[in-house]
């Protein structure tokens, strides 16, 4: 191992400067959200007497509480369905060598090539006919189906590299395939389940276009749509908007900072597979 040289020191300073420049917008975001609207100084200069009044006002006027609850409901429900159906589907796709299994795998992988914009508009009509427009369940249904290909792809890759010994022992002991899956295979899938949960939770929580279409005119908004509406309404009151942005980002950022070690590993590992 080489020691910490002066070159490393220069690199350290450069990287610190780059990161400070990179994080500057986030500083402005928090800084302005704490500012009294009467304070005329620049958005970048440190706020001298911070106030939390903007947060109280934004919380009330943007209906963020309801939007966070809605986003949480949609995200949790979608992720649970995605994990269950994709892990279950990946099992025969990874283990069976029959022709139907390979053909089905290709059919599912076709979904990785189709941009969701293509399905979004025709599906709009079906969702309307089912009277699900304007309800969070339309979104749960949409994300559950949309993310089957990618989640299944991750699960199949992981399963193919996993030895069969445990599940075979369970089957010989008289387990049904489903029992073997539930009590042996699924617990062994934990690392890849973590990746699937993280990737899909970020995707579902952040998505904007789908709820913009499927929930338009409804009172049950998700966070991105609520933030967008709030921005349109209060575009000249930036202190208020920024407080709303901070509130809207907090749930996902708290999750990120709490789990960042696993998330960075999961992102990298999941995308490598």
């Amino acid at each position: 191992m080489r020691s910490y040289s002066w070159r490393t020191f220069v690199l350290e300073l450069v990287m610190l400067a780059v990161t400070v420049a990179f994080a500057f917008p986030l500083y402005v975001l928090v800084n302005l959200s704490l500012r009294d609207p009467q304070d005329p100084s620049s958005a970048a200069s440190p706020t001298t007497s911070p106030t939390t009044q903007n947060y109280a006002d934004a919380w009330q006027q943007a209906g963020l509480g309801g939007a966070i609850a809605n986003s949480a409901l949609v995200t949790i429900a979608s992720v649970v369905v995605i994990v269950l159906v994709s892990s279950l589907a990946a099992y025969p796709l990874a283990r069976s060598t029959a022709a139907w299994s390979r053909a089905t795998f290709l059919l599912v992988m076709l979904g990785l090539l189709l941009p969701f914009q293509l399905a979004l508009l025709p599906l709009y009509q079906t969702i309307r006919d089912l009277h699900l427009l304007g309800t969070p369940w339309a979104l749960v249904l949409f994300y559950s189906g949309l993310q089957v290909p990618f989640a299944t792809f991750l699960y199949v890759g992981f399963l193919r590299a996993m030895p069969r010994d445990y599940e075979e022992a369970a089957l010989l002991d008289g387990c049904s395939p489903f029992q073997a899956f539930r009590s042996v295979v699924f617990p062994l899938l934990r690392p890849v389940t973590g990746t699937v949960v993280i990737l899909n939770a970020v995707l579902v929580w952040n998505d904007f276009l789908t709820p913009l279409l499927y929930l338009s005119g409804s009172t049950q908004q998700t966070i991105p749509v609520a933030i967008f509406g709030f921005l349109g309404q209060y575009v000249s009151q930036w202190e208020l908007v920024f407080a709303g942005l901070v509130i809207g980002s907090l749930p996902i950022l708290v999750v990120y900072f709490a789990m960042q070690r696993h998330i960075i590993k999961g992102f990298a590992g999941g995308l490598k597979g």
């Binding site: 910490y4 490393t8 690199l11 350290e12 450069v14 990287m15 780059v18 990161t19 990179f22 917008p25 402005v28 958005a43 970048a44 369905v81 159906v85 994709s86 279950l88 589907a89 099992y91 025969p92 796709l93 069976s96 029959a98 299994s101 076709l110 979904g111 189709l114 941009p115 914009q117 293509l118 508009l121 025709p122 599906l123 559950s144 189906g145 089957v148 290909p149 193919r160 075979e168 489903f178 929580w205 952040n206 904007f208 276009l209 991105p224 749509v225 933030i227 921005l231 908007v241 942005l245 980002s249 996902i252 990120y256 900072f257 960042q260 998330i263 992102f267 990298a268 590992g269 490598k272």
Partner: protein, 314 residues
């Protein structure tokens, strides 16, 4: 590990027909049931609507009435004749390529930086990656303020003595789309960084040090040792960023709405406007078909390259 799986007989191969019916015999028969929920959801949400979309693109459907007539390629002809649509298609491809190149160049440099021996590397990784988990709508709203004529970006340029570079970043038709590109790169450079970082950690330290002992400078070590081993990470990064760029919607919609004029229009903003503001459903779906063709061509081309590279490195 293909060797391992091939040493065992295929588990779900049907048992010989003369075998007495036992518990085990049911297995191959019931296993396909595991696929039913996923396939049902996937067919309902993706396959059937995409297939219907591909058909509706050849009709004059308005999104409401049940009657529609088959009009052949008219919608696609109309796209070719529509100056705004042509411009949006060209701009979308240009923007996607620009995002791919800039985001990954910066992501690679950041990854090399935080993969070195600097002491702050773990903290820096956390901060550089944070924007990538933020909601794109929030990021768009934040930058709409920062890029305003009296916003923090122009203030910062003044402060560091680069006042001559001040712009109306989102209001100038020549600049607006490139401001959006800059925001997207800012948000997702950390994402590219993390994937490159995963690739860099796969570079064996002894190979790297052997090259150093042999007298290879940092540039040659990177070109001949590190970069070839980064090939899978590079391909995945290029693929994710260009597909994301082709579908770009959120940041554009929040920051410029496609304007001023149509100067920052992308395929996705046009699809949305045509369907939900102008009621041109069939035309909008034809645009979605165009988007699908671009995404499918690019991702299958890149997938093919990835496979070839991986086979070459074996």
């Amino acid at each position: 590990m293909p060797a391992r799986t091939r040493t065992r007989p295929a588990q779900s191969a049907p048992p010989p027909l003369d075998e007495p019916p036992t518990r085990r015999r049911r297995r191959p028969g019931t296993l396909w049931l595991f696929l039913v929920p996923a396939l049902a959801l996937y067919a309902f949400v993706v396959l059937i609507p995409s297939g219907r979309g591909a058909l509706l693109a050849f009709t004059d459907w308005d999104g409401l009435s049940p009657d529609r007539a088959w009009i052949g390629l008219d919608n696609f002809q109309a796209i070719l004749d529509d100056e705004d649509a042509r411009a949006a298609v060209g701009q979308t491809v240009l923007v996607a390529v620009a995002i791919m190149v800039i985001q990954n160049a910066i992501g690679l440099l950041l990854a090399l930086g935080v993969n070195s021996r600097i002491k702050s590397r773990n903290v820096l990784r956390v901060f550089l990656f944070a924007p990538a988990v933020m909601t794109p709508v929030v990021v768009g709203a934040l930058w709409k303020n920062l890029l305003a004529p009296d916003g923090a970006v122009n203030w910062a340029l003044d402060t560091v003595g680069l006042g001559s570079l001040k712009q109306d970043w989102l209001g100038d038709p020549n600049v607006a789309i490139w401001s959006v590109v800059g925001v997207v790169v800012w948000q997702f450079a950390g994402y590219s960084m993390v994937i490159f970082l995963a690739g860099l950690q796969g570079v064996p330290q002894d190979v790297y040090e052997a090259a150093e002992v042999d007298g290879a400078g940092p540039v040659r070590r990177f070109r001949h040792v590190v970069f070839p081993l980064l090939a899978p990470a590079t391909t995945i990064n290029l693929m994710l960023s260009i597909i994301g760029g082709l579908k770009l919607f959120d940041q554009v919609w929040v920051m410029t709405g496609g304007g001023p004029g149509h100067s920052s229009e992308t395929l996705s903003t046009l699809i949305y406007k045509d369907a939900f503001q102008f009621g041109e459903f069939a035309y909008s779906i034809a645009l979605a078909v165009v988007l699908t063709i671009f995404v499918a061509l690019i991702s299958s081309g890149q997938y093919w390259l990835l496979r070839r590279q991986e086979e070459a490195s074996r």
